[in-house]
């Protein structure tokens, strides 16, 4: 069980680094989808052998939503908006990857100081969860396109989910599903918002929204 869980965590962290270095929106969406599918498997490994129906349902629901539904919604938003790649982010792709390593190091430091409850996955997953959360925040702050920012929000949520699932001895199913539903609504709204930004401004550069005024002379 342990090596499988470790491999899962390493793949999630590698996904974070790849997200920071990729400029293609299709590639970014696929990376987020792969990360979502991996996260779906986390609850199966986190609680040892006892796979109750509850856990199986959570795993399938999370994997489906994060790995299939969100990517399809975002891909549709991308197609409607007619954009292919992120050009000229605020922080370059190489520098972003270096920042990703710094984020990872910071996460290890933070995780070491936290009183983490003993669990089969908690020790390895806590730094990965923090790294994923911070990577999502970094993507939101440093990218120009609204779609990449929505992806950053998804990555941030992935990190929170990873933290919750691996830490909690017994996270109530309802809470996790409620969070998933929230994210679902958020992505839905973002898809619509992206479409409207595109219709109003002809591009998804959120930088242009500073030009918004309610009065034009």
């Amino acid at each position: 069980m342990r090596p499988a869980a470790e491999l899962l965590i390493v793949l999630i962290v590698l996904g974070n680094l790849a997200l920071l270095g990729s400029s293609r929106l299709t590639g970014l969406i696929r990376l987020v989808a792969a990360q979502g599918l991996l996260l779906g498997a986390v609850p199966l490994l986190a609680r040892g052998q006892a796979w109750t129906a509850e856990i199986l349902f959570l795993a399938v629901a999370a994997g489906l939503l994060k790995g299939v539904v969100f990517p399809v919604l975002l891909e549709r938003a991308m197609r409607d908006a007619g954009i292919r790649r992120e050009v000229e982010p605020f922080v370059g792709f190489s520098l972003s990857q270096v920042a990703g390593v710094a984020i990872l190091a910071a996460s290890f430091v933070i995780a070491r100081r936290l009183p983490v409850p003993p669990g089969p996955l908690a020790r390895a997953a806590t730094p990965a969860a923090f790294a994923t959360i911070l990577t999502g925040l970094f993507l939101i702050v440093t990218r120009r396109k609204a779609l990449t920012q929505a992806l950053g929000y998804l990555v941030l949520e992935n990190g929170i989910y990873l933290f919750g699932v691996s830490i909690g001895q017994r996270v109530p199913l309802v809470v996790e599903l409620g969070v998933l539903l929230d994210v679902f609504v958020a992505v839905f709204v973002m898809g619509i918002a992206i479409f409207h930004i595109r219709r109003e401004f002809d591009h998804l550069d959120v930088d242009r929204m500073t030009e918004l005024t309610d009065w034009t002379p």
Binding site: V10, L14, L17, G21, F93, Q97, V98, V101, L104, A105
Partner: protein, 293 residues
Amino acid sequence: MTDLLAPPLLALAGSPLLLGIVNKTKAAFAGRAGAPLLQPYYDLAKLLGKGAVYSRTTTWVFRAGPAVQLACALTAAAVVPLGGRPAALSFSGDFLLLAGLLAAMRFAGAAAALDAGSSFEAMGASRELQFAALAEPALLLSLAALARACGRLSLAGMFAAHPGGPAPVLAAAALFAVFLAENGRVPVDDPATHLELTMVHEVMVLDHCGPDLAFINYAAALRLWVLGALLLGPLLPRGTGPGTAAAALAGLAVLTGLVESATARLRLVRVPQLLVGAGTLAALAVMLARGGR
């Protein structure tokens, strides 16, 4: 005694063969017959039989370059173990010596290229050093990850420890990028190109001829062997002898040939991204490596 001398002797005798294997693989992939496997040896013999010509604008730096490169490569071949056997020269912290030797070799090459006074060679030297500046952190971080995972500070100890976990695999992936970049293989540099504007390693040696060029080519072949052995060392199973390790190196040469055939060369501005990516992989390996057990 034979145990200690087998790895360096194998490196001395076998390293040009690796270049032959790479070229043969590329030829087979392209549907050509290709040059014989032993062609690098014939080339070396031919070059050694010639005289050298020196431009009047060059100084002793230019003449010393090839000899220094060869000396560094020979010492590096003595430092790196092959398979599970200890290297001829092994002490605690010898991986830093290896990184230093590779850097000194590169410096000698770049200094000789600059001394020739040709702008093309200076451009090649500038690019080579730019890539090296990014490849070196990846190399050192991968070696640090291995040292941390194994709890040993000598290369022989790292190769013999066989730590589990993801760190050695990540370090090997980072080392593969360094291997391709340092040896001027395809995603970074094309050894077969004939356009000065796109050459990196090849343009630096344009003004060298005869025995000097033979020294440089032989040193480059040795570097291919040394970095390959470094990359494979922690991955080979316990109790691998020098013979099996050499066979694995031949497999790595075939893989290099396949990579060269199947991928296009990266745009010059994209190369740093590849090397920074390798560096991040290595840094991740350092963080995941748990202390020696």
